[in-house]
Structure formats: C-alpha cells, structure tokens
C-alpha cells in the first residue's frame, strides 16, 4: 500500500531499486543460510559417526586384548601347574619301578595317583573358570548364587543375591553375557572398592531384565565409566561395554541418593526383537 501511494513521488525509482535489491539479498541470504546450516549439520553427523567408529575400534581392541590375556592365563596354568604335575607323575611311573620291591612299587603308584588326581582337579578348575558348569546346567540364578556363596565363604565380604522374577530364563548366550559382566563387576569391587558387602537383585520390567548391584566401598559413577571407556586403561570396563552391546543392553553406574552406596544397574531386553 505504501509502495502504491509512493508511486507517483520522485523517490519511486529508489523504492524500486531498494525493493529489488532487498528481495534479492533476502532470497540469496536464505539460500546461503540453508546451504551452510546443512553443511554444518552434515559435518556434525560425520564427526559423530567417526567418534562412534573410533569407540568401536577401542572396544574391539580391548576385546582382542582380553582374549589374548585369557589365552595366556590358560597357557600359563597348563604350563606351570599341569605340566610339572604330569612330569612328576611320570617320574614315579618310570621303567625302574618293575625292579623295585612291592612296597616301594605300591607307594610310587599311590603317589602318582595322588598327583594325577591333583592334575584332574586343576584341569577341572581351569575348565570351570572358562565356563562354570552351574551356569551351563542350572542357569544364571544358580551360577550367580554359587559365585556369591564362594565370595561370602571367604569371610571378608558379605555377598548376597536375590532373583525376584526369573521364571522365564534368558537365552543361553545372554545368560553367559550377564554372568561375565557380573563376574567382571564383582572382580572390580573385590579388587578396588574395599567394601564390606555386595548385594545383587534381579527384576523384570516391561520385558527388560534388570540387575542391580549395591556395595558400600569406593566406586565409580557414569561419567567415570565413560571416561575410562574412552581411555586406554579400563580394559575390563571396555569388555563390559562390548559384551552389553552384543546383548543390546546398557549399564548405569551411580551413587545411591543417600550417598552411602554405589549402585550398578544393568538392563537387557529379554525378547529377541532387537536381534532380528
């Protein structure tokens, strides 16, 4: 309206010029804004992706390193413990045994048998540390209960576990993952926290398997966990992350609102919807 009123005035030429220039600048400005904004968003997305890839790489490396360490431990156990035991048993059962008197023969056989029993026990222990038979035969609840009883049995820490809703067991692979994560967490608590009790509870909520561990020692919170996860140290924590990733689960480290206990909450979907 203003422009129409101004049309017969001498400034119309200026209005025309300024209007055209203004519209052009507005259009070009908007287009440039959208281009630069989109470039910024895409760059941000790419950086995020790159960070995620780097994180994956760190987790993979940690997992490989852990596997190597486990192999080295088994090799050392076999070489340092089983090897000498079997060599000793062989010594008792040498060729000269037939030339010795009956009493000596009996004693040598008895000693060799004793050593072989020890070796069998040792191999069994190694095998159990790799895959606890309780977990394989009776499931997660029994395996965790067994683990906690052993810890309590040592007498220094009071460890207890309670499963509230575990009628429908998780798949074997998921149970193994959960057990390994619990083992790692408990191992960390025993090594670093100096706590006097560990308490584990299990619940189900909307198809999500929830496991909580409380302890009263020194602990970590989520920010520490994330920091350690990104650093070169904290191999066990990286292992927890990669295991949970496989099970589509997540973990939360926090301090109790009362500031007395540390709490670790693990959530894993019980159905297979995410695995498709």
């Amino acid at each position: 309206m203003f422009l129409l009123q101004a049309s017969n005035q001498p400034g119309i030429s200026l209005v025309l010029f300024m209007g055209t220039l203004g519209m052009l600048l507005l259009t070009v400005g908007l287009i440039l804004f959208i281009i630069f904004h989109q470039r910024k968003v895409i760059r941000y997305q790419m950086r995020l992706q790159q960070m995620e890839q780097e994180q994956q790489k760190v987790l993979l490396k940690a997992s490989i390193r852990l596997q190597e360490e486990e192999r080295q431990r088994i090799a050392a156990d076999l070489h340092d413990d089983a090897g000498p035991l079997l060599a000793t048993a062989r010594l008792y059962l040498n060729e000269n045994l037939v030339n010795q008197d009956k009493a000596t023969q009996l004693q040598s056989i008895f000693q060799a048998r004793q050593i072989l029993d020890d070796t069998i026990q040792l191999v069994r222990n190694i095998s159990h540390s790799l895959m606890p038979p309780t977990l394989k035969n009776f499931g997660l609840e029994s395996a965790i209960s067994d683990l906690f009883q052993k810890i309590s049995g040592a007498g220094t820490i009071n460890a207890s576990s309670r499963f509230h809703e575990y009628k429908d067991r998780l798949k074997t692979e998921k149970e193994t993952i959960v057990f390994r994560v619990v083992q790692e967490l408990i191992n960390n608590i025993l090594k670093h926290s100096g706590s006097s009790f560990i308490h584990l509870t299990q619940n189900m909520q909307g198809g999500i398997f929830i496991l909580r561990i409380h302890h009263d020692g020194r602990g970590i919170i989520q920010s520490d966990f994330e920091k350690l996860n990104k650093s070169n140290i904290g191999l066990g924590l990286k292992n927890i992350t990669s295991r949970l990733k496989v099970a589509h689960g997540n973990i939360l480290f926090e301090k109790d609102p009362s500031q007395t206990y540390y709490k670790v909450t693990m959530e894993i979907p019980s159905d297979d919807a995410n695995e498709a």
Binding site: G19, L24, T27, I35, Q38, V41, Q45
Partner: protein, 225 residues
C-alpha cells in the same frame, strides 16, 4: 546505451532458453528424462514464444498474453514443487491454492482494465511460489543424511525460481505505477534475473545428468566376491 543493454539482455534470454532446450534434448538421448524436467523444457519454449509474440502484438493484446503466460508459468513451477516435495497433504494444498489462483487470474484478466502488465497475479504467483520453495528448503534442513542439498538437481531449479521471482517481484508489482521511463531503466533487470534462473536451471540439469549416471554405474557394478 540503456536501450542497447536492454536489447542485449532481451536477446540473451532467447539464447539461454535455447541453451536449456538443447541441454534437455541432449540428455534425453542418453537417459530417460523425468516428467518435471520436460515441464522445465516446455517452460523455456513457452517463454521464448511469449517474448517473440510480445514483439508482434499490440499493447492491449500483450496484457492477455502476459496473463496467460503468468498462469502457465505458475502451473509449471507449482507442479515441479509439488512433485519435488512429494507429500500428499502438501500436494493437495498446492492443488487447491492453484485452483483458487486460476479462478482469480481468469476473473482478474477479464474483469480488470487492461493496463500493460498483470501485476497483481504476478505478485500473488511470486508469493505462492516463494512459500512453496521456502517449505521445500525447510524440509531439506530437516533431512539428516550425508548428501549435500546442492547435490540434488531440484535444489538448483527451485533456487532458480526463487532468484527470478524474488528479484523481479518489485519491478513487476510496481510496473503499472511508475512512469514508462523509470520502468525502462529497470526492466532489463527482469531479463537479467531470467538469465540467472536459466543458468541455475542449467546447473540443475547438469546435476541431474550426473546423478543419473552415478545411479546407472552403481547398479551395474560387477560383484568381485
């Protein structure tokens, strides 16, 4: 001098229209051209024809010619945008607004006084096309993938619409309210914006040809497993 520049821009519009027509024809020999591109092709023919006829017709006849051209230009741009946005609700909205615009242009053309240029329909056309274009750009902002906005051919064509319509908006709506001398001084700008639009169309068509080629080569990549 001014007359020479105006004439130069006027003839350049023909050359650039011809350039787009040629580009589409060459591309059509190697690949299937989308319907939207054929509409752009038709638009360039239509513009050249209108410009040519405007030199033959009288001032009063020109009014009807321009009104008809505005209607077709709007329809082509709106169709292109509706196809690009590709949302049923928005397409319906564009269709409804286009019907209303068609009725308005017809009523306005046959009821108002024929005075040179159909400023009001052009003004409404510009506003509507700019609104659709802004909506397209808004949608592009919200798309989060790894392709840059300018790697899509539609972007260049829509930017062409925006620069052309936005740039010549004030000249067209004030055309009937300024003296002939003032209008003559600025009229060449409409040609300049038209040429810029055609250059942007050219970039769009080049992007279209390139993207089609890429798709083709990806599809027929041999498996080396």
């Amino acid at each position: 001098m001014a007359k020479t520049i105006e004439d130069l821009f006027f003839y350049l519009t023909f050359i650039f229209d011809f350039f787009i027509i040629l580009l589409v024809l060459i591309s059509s020999k190697t690949k299937k051209i989308k319907k939207e591109i054929w509409f752009i092709f038709s638009y360039c023919i239509l513009n050249s024809l209108t410009n040519y006829l405007s030199t033959l017709y009288s001032y009063e006849e020109e009014y009807f010619l321009y009104a008809f051209f505005t209607l077709l230009e709007y329809s082509i741009f709106a169709f292109f945008l509706a196809k690009t946005i590709n949302k049923s609700l928005i397409s319906k909205l564009i269709f409804s607004l286009s019907c209303a615009f068609l009725i308005f242009v017809l009523l306005h053309t046959f009821t108002s006084k024929s005075d040179g240029l159909d400023s009001i329909p052009i003004g409404i056309e510009t506003i509507l096309i700019l609104i659709y274009s802004f909506y397209y750009l808004y949608l592009q902002i919200n798309i989060v993938d790894e392709t840059f906005i300018y790697s899509r051919y539609q972007f260049w064509i829509i930017v062409g619409f925006m620069v052309y319509l936005g740039g010549s908006f004030f000249i067209y709506i004030l055309a009937n309210n300024v003296s002939y001398d003032v209008l003559k001084d600025y009229w060449f700008l409409t040609y300049a914006f038209y040429i810029i639009k055609n250059i942007l169309f050219g970039v769009g068509l080049y992007t279209y040809a390139k993207s089609s080629k890429r798709k083709y080569s990806q599809k027929f990549q041999p498996s080396l497993n």
